[in-house]
């Protein structure tokens, strides 16, 4: 299970996350972002791509399983 939070003060709606992990991040209108704060482990690689691609580095992800291991 992945926990995530986006610092929406930093977010400027570049939508990279919504392109790369569309099951977790979704644009709401042209600029607003909605996301699932708890994503399935199956989304791990896509969420990693989304977080890395964020131009304002606003996405914090905690991989609950990885940290338990």
């Amino acid at each position: 299970m992945l926990r995530l939070v986006v610092d929406l003060n930093r977010c400027q709606g570049y939508a990279q996350c919504a392109f790369l992990a569309p099951d977790v991040f979704a644009m709401h209108g042209d600029e607003g972002l909605l996301y699932d704060p708890q994503a399935e482990a199956a989304q791990r690689e896509r969420v990693a791509q989304a977080a890395a691609a964020c131009p304002v580095q606003a996405i914090l992800v905690e991989d609950a399983e990885a940290s338990d291991a």
Partner: protein, 418 residues
């Protein structure tokens, strides 16, 4: 400041490594030598200006006596209206929003994600081709990675994205190559002849696209061009001219930059064999690696077309209204005020908020596609090429100082793994 640093940056002799020149440039964050452009090279100043509404991207706002050596060197768009790259809001926003509608979220959130398998299969085919020895054998004279991989990959992707029929892809490649060459003029070649070839290619491509748009209006598919052509009513429909201009932008901007990103990436990896070996073992490293690559060797080195709409002050220098400006992204990306050890290529870098894809409203439209293409290309090349080596370092570069990258990248390897 030494005289003529801008000429040195433009000088082909310095193409392989402009970074020492950028370092010199950064000592004067806003450089201006009495004529020519105001050149901004430090990270925070560039970042600020990319979010500064006093700057226009519309070159029609430039003063007459601009004196910019890069003026008029950008892609020739012929008789087409300016693309959104060269427009300000609200026209920019309107066109970009319409272009985005069939491309990405909120309306088409799965277009790019849905191309992952296609990307994979194109990459696989191209790397298989390297093994077949098509146009250069593995053990023979080496492989030109540009010709055989970096070039065909993004063009094929753009064809698929736009919805160019498979049987026309080969023609499309020829036009794309010709237009790309026009961005990169060989100073020794016959300029008149070149211009003739270019404008004929531009014309043929334009006619082809216009025909395709016409066809898609009648028989729409779920491709991007069909949806762009269909429009969305209420002032949210592009004219045919706007559509042609946008398609040309997607083709040129989406193509040239990705070629350079992939080629620069492989060159950088071959110069850092430890990282290449890590990538071979951990393909996931490609994700942060591509971000670091966008910082370390950005495919667009500088943005040459901004101009202030009123006098603005940057670092104590007044840049007058209408003056040409260059924002040297590649210099900002190596600014030690922003990045620790900026000249070190470090895919584990935690703080990598680079300028490689720009920032603000004009930030790279195709960024998510470019990222996926580069991540996949580099991880697959690393995985499949056995013992790859650089045959020519530095490789021969293209003329273009803005869209900077190797013209050829000759490599050899022992084998191509399945």
């Amino acid at each position: 400041m030494k005289q003529g640093i801008l000429s040195q940056i433009l000088d082909y002799a310095n193409r392989a490594n402009p970074y020492p020149l950028y370092e010199e440039l950064r000592r004067t964050p806003v450089f201006h030598d009495g004529e020519g452009p105001y050149v901004v090279s430090t990270y925070h100043e560039i970042h600020g200006l990319l979010h500064d509404p006093r700057l226009s991207s519309d070159t029609r706002n430039r003063g007459a006596a601009a004196g910019d050596p890069l003026a008029g060197q950008e892609e020739g768009e012929g008789q087409l209206p300016p693309s959104f790259l060269k427009l300000d809001p609200p026209e920019h926003d309107r066109l970009r929003r319409m272009t985005n509608r069939p491309f990405g979220p909120p309306h088409s959130p799965r277009r790019i994600d849905g191309m992952r398998e296609e990307l994979r299969s194109i990459v696989k085919g191209l790397i298989d081709g390297l093994a077949d020895g098509r146009g250069g054998s593995v053990g023979g004279d080496g492989i030109d990675l540009v010709e055989q991989f970096s070039y065909p990959f993004p063009v094929t992707m753009i064809c698929r994205l736009l919805g160019v029929p498979r049987e026309d892809e080969a023609r499309f490649h020829v036009w794309a190559d010709t237009l790309a060459a026009s961005l990169d003029p060989d100073p020794d070649a016959d300029a008149e002849q070149r211009e003739k070839v270019t404008s004929s290619a531009r014309m043929e491509l334009g006619m082809y696209l216009a025909g395709l748009i016409e066809e898609r209006r009648k028989n729409p598919g779920d491709d991007m061009l069909s949806q762009l052509a269909a429009g969305h009513g209420q002032g949210e429909t592009m004219s045919t001219m706007e559509l042609l201009s946008t398609a040309a932008l997607l083709l040129i901007a989406g193509h040239e930059t990705t070629v350079n990103l992939i080629t620069n990436g492989m060159l950088t990896l071959l110069r850092h064999p430890d990282v290449l070996e890590r990538l071979r073992r951990e393909p996931r490293l490609a994700v942060p690696l591509v971000e670091e690559l966008l910082r370390y060797e950005p495919p667009v080195q500088l943005l040459p077309q901004r101009t202030p709409l009123s006098d603005i002050e940057v670092c104590g220098v007044t840049i007058p209204k209408g003056a040409p400006m260059w924002l040297v992204l590649a210099a900002g990306n190596r600014d030690p005020q922003r990045f620790e050890n900026p000249d070190r290529f470090d895919p584990d870098r935690k703080d990598v908020q680079h300028l490689g894809l720009g920032s603000g409203i004009h930030s790279c439209f195709g960024a998510p596609l470019a990222r996926l293409e580069a991540q996949l290309a580099l991880s697959e090349l690393a995985r499949r090429l056995h013992n790859p080596r650089l045959l020519d370092d530095p490789p021969p570069y293209r003329q273009n100082a803005v869209l900077r990258g190797p013209r050829h990248l000759m490599i050899a390897c022992d084998d191509v793994r399945p």
